[in-house]
Each structure stands twice: as C-alpha cells, then as structure tokens.
Assembly symmetry: C3
Homo-oligomer: 403 residues x 3
C-alpha cells in the first residue's frame, strides 16, 4: 500500500472512520434494551480505550514490521518507543471499528471483562496480523483486492463476534424450547437509524481515503458506495415488504450498512452497474442471513453485526473478484484469491478467538448471573439507570436479589 497522499488526508480519513464509529456507537446503544443502554455505551468507551492501547503498545509493532509477510515484530514500535507513520493513525481508527463490531455481538449478557479481553485480542493480535497480511504481507502479494478493510475490519470483526457469541451463548429469553425465536427489539429505533445516517456520512471520506491509499480510483468509489448502499436498502425494502407486508426498519438500516460493507473491497475498481448488483445482492443477503442466524443457527447477535459485517464482507470480497474489469481467466484467478483470503481469515480469527474464549471460560464464567441479565447490566455492573427520569416497562427484581 504505497502512501502518496499527503498526511493530512490520511488523518482526515482516520477521523472519518471515528465518525463511522460514533454512528455505530449510536446504533449499538439504540439496539440494546433500555436496561442495558448505559452498559452498551460504557462498553463502547471501554473497548475504545483498551483496544487503542493494545494496538499502540503491541499491535502496531506487529502490523508494521517489515521482516516478512506472515508474522513478525518491529521492537522499535512497541509501547510507542517510536512514533509510527501516519498510516498507523488510520489503522488505529480501524481497530476501534473492529472492537465496536465484535463486542456488539456479545452485548447484554457477557461480563464486562470479556469485552476487555476481546478488545485486547483484536487490537494486539487479530487486526495487526491480518492487516499485515493484507496491506504489507502475503495476502497482498498474492493479489487480494480489498480497498478499505473488508478482510481486516469487517470479516475479522464479524468472525470474532460470531465465535464469541457462540461461546457466551444467547440472551435469556431469546430462543424458546419449542425451537422458535423471539425478536428482542432495541429500545430506541430513532437512535439506531440516526446512527446509520451518521455512519454513512463518515463512510464516504473513509472510502475515498482508503482508495487513495490503495491506489484505486476514488471518485467511482464514492459513487459506487452511494449506489450500493441505496440499492441494498431498496432491495431489503422490497424483500421485507414481500415477506412481511411491511418495511422493516432494522433490516433496512442493516442492509444499507451492509451495502457499504459490500462495496468496501471493490470500491472504485468495478464499474457502476456492478455496484448496483453488489448492492442489490447485499440487500437480499444481509436480511436473509440475519433471519437465518436468528431462526436456524440460533446465534444471538443483538445489533445484527455478524450478518451486516460478516455476510457483507464475504460478498464484498467475492464481488471484487467477480466484477473486476480484467480478462475472464484473471477474473477467475482473482475470485479464487479472494475466496482463499476469506477462508484463511475466517479460520485464523475463529481459531484464535475460540481458543482465547475457551481459555477465559476456564478461569471465570463469561456470562453475568441470570438475575443480573434480567435486571439489566446498567444496574448490575454499573449501578446506573440509563433513563432515570422515565417510567420504563420492565420490572426490577433487585429488591429480591441475594447479596
């Protein structure tokens, strides 16, 4: 990834990523129930701090080493001994996106320290290793096409979140004994959708900056992103209207974000009509995977992050191969490379995350007590009520709790 843009553009790109993060933060707070809303916010800040420090102290030395294309360490970059180049600011912002996505999959029932562990893992190991492969190492050398982080951000985050969610287990009351599934609505739909709009505003300069860094065209990247997001939203509206007779807000917002994820590998390297198809497919894929994860695989993912970022990224990477404007054989080879990258990243992230979660589970339970989950993590873990001035519809049991 040659960097020929002035450093200010890269700093702006990093700031845009943080704007996306603020949008995702709103999304995730809104998607939780009101009794877990402060927890969602506090965990969001906690993983920001911890993930950032882990990346700064260790991760950047792994990501930016120049020994080989697989795994190494640049000791001079450990614990900030030397200030890394400007690209590290951008990578740091990406880490903060990953921690937000991954930890959202275990929200509302895992214990606070699990969020910390997962954030350290993401910032110190997962993003640095995979990022090195993609941006400086062997995956980049075999020619994977991934302009703005489908592999090292979205797929990685979704895989880590999925594995963690399986280890932690679903929220209480999510899945019924008879095999049916309950939909647990977030407490503030307006906040969810405002978060999606904010994320969209930040996504455009992010994609433009990433295209500049990757050397792919940036004007088509922006146009493609807008088209893909819009097409995905439109497709999901059509789908949910046909299936449920209603346009579903969560599926629509998720599809739009999924459309942005789905264009993140190809960005400006594919023609406009391909962006339309990428978006339309994403708008069918994300809601479908969301519903499948929920009803068939019985994986609990409160904010829909696994479908949006996981399925979105897989499709993004394949689409970048399929629609790249090269001769047919090269296109086939490109698609093969993309598939290889998907498999390798999913396996690596799943195995490492699984081992870590397994190890942690041996030391301490991953879940809060059932009564704490019932009362809400706000009360149980942080002694606050996110909305102390409002009458809420839940019943508090704390007067009956054992000490």
């Amino acid at each position: 990834m040659p960097i020929d843009a002035p450093d200010l553009w890269i700093i702006l790109t990093a700031a845009s990523v943080l704007l996306v993060r603020a949008g995702l933060g709103l999304w995730m707070i809104g998607a939780s129930r009101s009794k877990h809303a402060a927890s969602a916010g506090i965990r969001g800040m906690a993983e920001f701090c911890v993930g950032m420090l882990a990346f700064w102290a260790v991760g950047s030395a792994i990501l930016l080493h120049t020994h080989n294309g697989v795994l190494g360490l640049a000791p001079r970059l450990l614990i900030g001994l030397q200030t890394p180049g400007v690209s590290a600011c951008y990578f740091a912002a990406l880490v903060l996106i990953v921690t937000a996505i991954a930890t959202s999959a275990i929200a509302e029932r895992c214990r606070f320290f699990v969020v910390i562990v997962l954030s350290v893992l993401v910032g110190a190991v997962l993003v640095p290793v995979v990022g090195h492969w993609v941006w400086y190492g062997w995956l980049g050398r075999v020619g994977v096409l991934d302009v703005s982080g489908a592999l090292a951000v979205h797929l990685l985050a979704a895989t880590a979140g999925l594995v963690a969610s399986v280890f932690v287990g679903p929220r209480n009351g999510k899945f019924n004994h008879d095999g049916s599934t309950n939909m647990i609505p977030g407490h503030n739909v307006g906040m969810i959708l405002a978060g999606a709009l904010l994320a969209t505003a930040g996504w455009i300069p992010w994609l433009a900056g990433a295209s500049t860094l990757a050397g792919t065209p940036r004007v088509p990247a922006v146009m493609n992103a807008l088209v893909a997001a819009a097409a995905a939203g439109a497709a999901s509206m059509f789908l949910s209207f046909r299936r449920f007779g209603k346009v579903d807000g969560a599926l629509l917002g998720g599809a739009m974000l999924g459309g942005l994820v789905a264009i993140s590998a190809a960005a400006g390297a594919v023609p406009g009509w391909a962006a339309l198809i990428i978006g339309l497919v994403a708008g069918w894929l994300i809601p479908t995977v969301t519903v499948f994860l929920d009803t068939r695989f019985r994986v609990d993912d409160p904010a829909g992050s696994v479908a949006i970022h996981g399925a979105g990224a897989v499709w993004a990477l394949l689409a970048a191969g399929i629609f790249r404007e090269v001769p047919f054989l090269d296109r086939l080879r490109q698609t093969g490379v993309q598939l290889l990258a998907i498999v390798v990243v999913v396996l690596f992230v799943a195995i490492v995350t699984g081992l870590v979660m397994k190890g942690v589970a041996l030391v301490a339970p991953l879940r809060v007590r059932e009564a704490d989950e019932y009362d809400g993590l706000d009360l149980a873990e942080h002694d606050v009520n996110a909305y102390p001035d409002f009458q809420q519809t839940m019943i508090k049991s704390y007067h009956l709790r054992e000490a």
Copy 2:
C-alpha cells in the same frame, strides 16, 4: 461551474452534505411524535435509497447533459453506464438533502409509497432539471447568483414539500373547526436541537466547498454563514421573547437553520455587514412564516421545513441580488434575475409536483386510514414501537381495529 478544486475537496464537500443530512434526520425524527418516530427514521432511509437510485439511474444524465441549457439527456450516463465526474457525487448528496426536506412536510400522515414517489420525482426529475438550469444552463447564463443551492436544493425542496402537504392534507387534530390551530410538539426536543448543531457543523465545509466550485470567496463565506446563523437565532429569540414572553426552542433552531439557508445564495459574495442583515431578517422571517403557515394558511408542516427552506431560500436569493457589491443598476438587474429564478423554479416545481400528486391520488389514497394515524405509523406501517421499553402517554386503539 468550473471545477478547479481537487476532487478530494469535492468528495469532502459531499460528505459534509451527508453530515448535514444526518443532522436533518435527527431533527425530523425528534420533531415527530413518538408513535411516528420509527416511521420518520425508516422513511428517511427509504427516501435516501430511492432518491439516490433515481438520481443515479436517470437524474445525473439529465443534470449533466451538454446539449442545451434547458432540457436534455446524456444517454451515456443513464443507469451508471459511465461513471460521471466527481461533481455528480456532490449533486447526489444534494439530492438526498432535498428528499429529506420535501418528504418531511408530509410526515405522520401520508402513506409510505407517497414518500417513494416523491423521492423518485426529486431525484430523477426535479433536482436534475433545476440543477441543470442553475449550474450549467440558462439560469446560470442569465447570471443568477446561487452559490450553494438556494434554488436547486432549498427552494425546490420546500416547494415540493408544500405542494405535497396541501395534497395530502393536514394531520388529524392539527386544525380545529373554529379556525384555531393546535401546536403538535415533537417527541424529543433534545434530538431536534442536537440535529441542528450537527447540521451546522456540516454546513461550514459544505459552504466552503460550494464556494470553491462556484468561484466565490470561501473564507468570507464561512464567516458569513456563522454570522447569519447567529444573527437569525438572536433575532428569533428577541422576537419570540417579545411575542410569547419566552424563548421558543423550535423557532430558535428553525431560525438558525434558516439563517444558514438564507446565506446559501450569496455566501462569500457579500460583505460581512450584509450577512448580519441577512441573518437578522431571516430570524424574523422564518418564525413569522412558520406561524403564518400554521395559523393563517393552515398548511401542516410537522418539521417546519417549508418555512425554513422555502422562506429562507427566497430571502437568500433576493438578498444575494440586493447586497451584491456591484453598481446600483447591476444590482437592480441582479435582483431581477434572482426574482425571475425564484418564480420560475417555484412554478416549475409546484406544477410538476402537483400533477404527480394529483395523478397518484387518482390511483390510491395518499393518506393512511384515520385509525392508523391515531395509532401511529410505527405500528400501522412497520409493526414496531420506536420506544418499546418506555411508558408513553398515548392510548393505543389497535385492539379495536378491524382487520
């Protein structure tokens, strides 16, 4: 509109416009009642998707054709056959502002598909035609001064919204039989004002970018925008304090946005003292028009968009003529040109929108059923409760509804 700025600036300008859009989105969700809050958000995303696709598939080919200054089509730009230049990214973002403003005027009572129709109309026809006139065509050639979209964004959006609102009719309970009017407060004043602050933050780089594209000075543009917004807010505070003995939040926020609209035609082409006057007048005009529309003309506009963007834009265009620093006769001629542009755009947009709404009304009713409006569009159209964890003050009638 010669484009001598590097493309990255234009992309950033487009992103800033999307930030304004996120702010307007917050404004419009907050300005609706809680039983319509999810609907406000979902419709916001729906018109984003549909308006964007309409512009991309058809609109950009109309806007960017080079055949003449009135009406034409560049077939090579249809359905993204060829990626248009970077200015199309900026214009696309402007389309999304227009759809947000126009559809907000028919919120809380029109049926979902009317939002879709209006968004297609805006993205495929209205903005492209008017935008072509202003930026590439005859209105630009006769010398209209409109730096950042007073005509093609604000006036157009307000006119379309006004006409649509008249066709759809007011919300139930808005106007009483005895001629009096009820004020229907939004459900979240904090969200409204946070949206205004966010829109202000995005407005500054938008105006700077648009000034760069228009070749007018950009530093005075920024200063003028801040002064106009502040003066408008101050004037509205004075006004509402004198009239009601209280500072009214909605009028204050609306006046600040109106001040930003009011400077959008002249931007940096007028001196600082003129920006002060433009703002002060806007701060008197917007609240006055808001109240007049409400109590005299009995037009229902839940988020105040018609007054803010319509009256704001008319004043913006006239002020750009009045205060332009040219000899008196030129100034007179300029003001005449501005007046001509206002009349032409209002007539064109009103007629086209009126015909479309009329046509649509022949096919299907524009309004939801009275019981649906009473229960809220969230429940009626999307089967959700925007705030499921909170006790709300409304009575649900759905157990009595016929199927």
Copy 3:
C-alpha cells in the same frame, strides 16, 4: 502563529471544532435532567448565537489587533467592517466551544439571561484577550507551549464556569445540611456517551489542524491524542473499579474527554510514552477532581465541565513543559512559563468573570425561583416539555404555582 496551511484546511479545522461542539451539546443535554433537557438544548443554541455575534462584532477586533502584545483594538475589524482572515473562522469556532463549556456549569438553575451575559463576556472579551496573549501577544512571546487551546479554550472556559457556578450557587437538593452530597444523574446516559464519541471524532482533525497552525508535528499529535484519551479512560476505569467496585460511565466519559484536553497543550511536541503518562495521570486526575469538587468544595457542576476542562488543561500545560524534549534547564524554564500562564489566565478570567457576575447580581437575581427549578426550566422558561410523549418520574407542581 504563522499560517502556512491552505485556508481550506483551516476551514475544515473550524468545522471539526463545530463537530466537537455538537458532541459536547449532546453530552450536556444528556447530562441534565429530563425536566431541564429542552432548556439545555435551547441555551446551547442561544450561547452559540450570542457568543458568535459578540466575537464577530467586538472580539475579533481585540484578538487580531497588532498594536501590542497585551490589549488593543483593530477598529477596522469591528462589526465585520472588514472580513478578517481565515484564522478568525477557527477562533470563532473555539469561542463556541468555550461558551458551551462555561455555561454548562450553571445549567439547571441560573436564569436564561445569565447565559446570555456569560456568552457575551466570553466572545467579546475573555477569549479575545487571552487568545491574543497566547497566539499573538506576550504569552506567546515568552514561549508558552499550547498547541490547541488549553489556555484560551479549556482553562478559560473552566475558570469562567467555576466562578459563575459559585456565584449562582448549587442546584437545589445537591448538597445536604449534614455535609453530604447527592449525585444527580443525567437523564440519558446513552446520549452522554454518544456525545463523547462524536467529540472524539471531531477532536482528531481539530488537533491536526491546530498543530499545523502552530508548526508542531501533526502525525504524532493524532497518535498522542488517541493514546492519551485511551490511557485516561483506562486509568479511570481502574480507579472507579477499585474505589466503587464498578466502572462508572460518567467518570469514564469525562476521563476520555479529559485525556483529550490533557494532550491539547503538548499535542505532537512530546514523545509517545509521554502521551501515555499524560493520559494516565489525566484519568486519575479528572475523576478525583470531579469527586473533590462535588464532595469537598461543594461546587455544583452538572456536566463535570470544570474538572474535565479545568483540571485537564492545568495538567496539559504543566505536562507540555515537563515532557518537552529539550535540555533539562530549558524544560524547567518551559514548565515555569507554563505555570505562569496558568496563574495569569486563571486570575484574569476569575476576576473579570467574578466582577461581571457580581455586577449582574446587583441588578437581577441570578437564579430562577425555587418552584421553577423544581418544575424544570423547560416548563418555567420555555413552556415546553422535552419529552411530551413519555411518562416521566417527576412530579409537576405547576398547578399550585402562583402567577
């Protein structure tokens, strides 16, 4: 402060500051109780308008005069007679940050006009005078190191807010007769934390722009800011976990903002390990000062602004001296200069603010009536309910109020 960056960068920096302001606005609305939430938003817009006009009409002429390094006036800049250079856009945005911080300390109980008076004071006098000293005058000449406004923004705002808060007195029910203190929680924790995330996103380009203006390295500035914020947050989590057995959200968010304040003087002029220490100390200092102000000094500061911006800025300025990479004696001298600057600014701002508040208190009471505070400023001053559709947990007394 030589300005060698193109004006567009400075405009973008100003816009980033306004984004931070939007984030602080969310913070302050969320930190108030629901019965004062509209008031928090309306006052936020009011001080924006008034502070901006005061700076434009008078302040910029004081800040940008070139007569001497202490106090003067450039008549040609009064009431916008001549458009000042682009740096004035940046300074104007900084004024709006200061008014937001200072007035937040007297929220929920002072009368509306006190906010107006304080905003005029800040925009017309305090920021211009101190800013002139730091950026063009004697403080700059003696070599104070303050890259992005620790003196003229954060310390100034916190001092003015502290003095005003002492004059206005604490909120009813805040301090008990037996010496104990009540914690009064904000009404929307999610909004508080979303505001912090938004402010963080805006802070990065702000710091990069300010570093460019100050001629200090900007890439290390961004990295240091992220590290300092993260370290401060981590330290506060550790602290509140040790002290209360729980991670406290308000302290965590405050510590993160405090970490950003604490790096604002040194920015990129100190090495990365120093940023870590600066952040860790800030993460201990801010919560400690917050609790001390609350329980020992019995100063009421609803949004925690005095601790975050005051203690944060003092530490920022000292740290900039302590960690600057110069020979030991120079470092000592630098630290002395920083200390001098702190003392001078605190004294100047405290005396001027104190005199003004004293004078105002002679004319009219600074506080609303006790019954109005009880009912909420939303009802008492603005005749609105910020959340009219929700059942809230407070009791309204207004049916018993005398006219």
